[in-house]
Symmetry: C2
C-alpha cells in the first residue's frame, strides 16, 4: 500500500512542478509584457554575452538551432544585436548593441521588480529547494538511459 501512496505522492509532486513551471513562464511573460518584445526575444537577450555561438544559445533556450536564426534576425532587425563571425568562421556569435544592452538591463530589472520567482523563500529554504530539485534533476539524468 505504501507503493500506491508513493505513486500518488510522486504524481502530486509532478503536478506541482509542472504547475509551478507554467507560472514561472507566465510570471516572466508578465514581467516583460510592457517592454514590447516577444517573450522569446526577452529570454534570449538575457543570454547574449558576445561570445556564445548561436548553437549554444539554442541549447540554453532548449530549441532547435535552426530556430535561433529567426530569433537572431529579429534581434538584428530591432537593432538589439549583431551577428559577428568567430575565429572559426562557421561560428557566429551574437553581441548586443547599445540598444541591446539597455534592453537587457531593462528586462533584468523588470523581472526583478515584478517580484523574483522565489521571493518569499528565505535563504535556507532556497538552499533546501535547490538541493531537492538537484536530486531530481540528477535522478532523471540517470534514468534517461533506461
Amino acid at each position: 500500500m505504501t507503493e500506491a501512496t508513493d505513486l500518488a505522492e510522486s504524481r502530486e509532486l509532478a503536478r506541482m512542478v509542472v504547475q509551478l513551471s507554467e507560472r514561472a513562464r507566465a510570471h516572466f511573460a508578465d514581467a516583460v509584457a510592457h517592454l514590447d518584445v516577444p517573450v522569446l526575444l526577452a529570454r534570449t537577450i538575457l543570454l547574449v554575452d558576445g561570445q556564445t555561438p548561436m548553437r549554444d544559445i539554442a541549447g540554453e533556450l532548449g530549441v532547435d538551432p535552426s530556430y535561433v536564426t529567426g530569433i537572431a534576425d529579429q534581434l538584428e532587425t530591432r537593432g538589439l544585436a549583431t551577428r559577428t563571425p568567430g575565429r572559426d568562421r562557421r561560428i557566429k556569435v551574437l553581441a548586443l548593441t547599445e540598444c541591446g544592452h539597455a534592453l537587457q538591463a531593462r528586462v533584468a530589472e523588470s523581472v526583478e521588480s515584478h517580484g523574483a520567482f522565489a521571493h518569499r523563500l528565505d535563504c535556507d529554504q532556497k538552499q533546501a529547494l535547490r538541493e531537492l530539485l538537484g536530486i531530481l534533476l540528477a535522478e532523471t539524468d540517470e534514468g534517461e538511459a533506461s
Copy 2:
C-alpha cells in the same frame, strides 16, 4: 548586493523548475509511449471518473474547453469513453467503457513501473519538497493579482 544574488538564485531555481517540468512531461510520455495512445489522451484518461464535466476536465488539463471536444471524440472513437448528459443537460460527463478502465489501469501501471517521478526522495524529502513548492504556488497565487 544581496539583492542581485537573490535575483540570480531565483532565476536559477526557476530554471530548475522549468527543466524538471519538461523532464516530468518527457517521463510521462516515455512511460505511455508503448500504449499507442497520444499523450494527451493518456493524461485525460487518468482524469475521467464518470462525474466530471468536460469543462472541468479542460481546467485540469490546462487547455481550452473547446479543445476537450476533440479529445472526447477520440476517446469515443477508440471506444474508451462515452459522453453522457448530467442532470443539467447542458453538461456532459465522460465515463470510461470497459476498455477505458483497462487502459486507465495500464496507464497508471506504466507510469508507476517506469519509475515514479520522485522515486529517489525519501519521505522526509518529499514532504519538504511539497511544502516548499506549496509556498511558491501560494505565493504566485497572491502575486497574480498585482
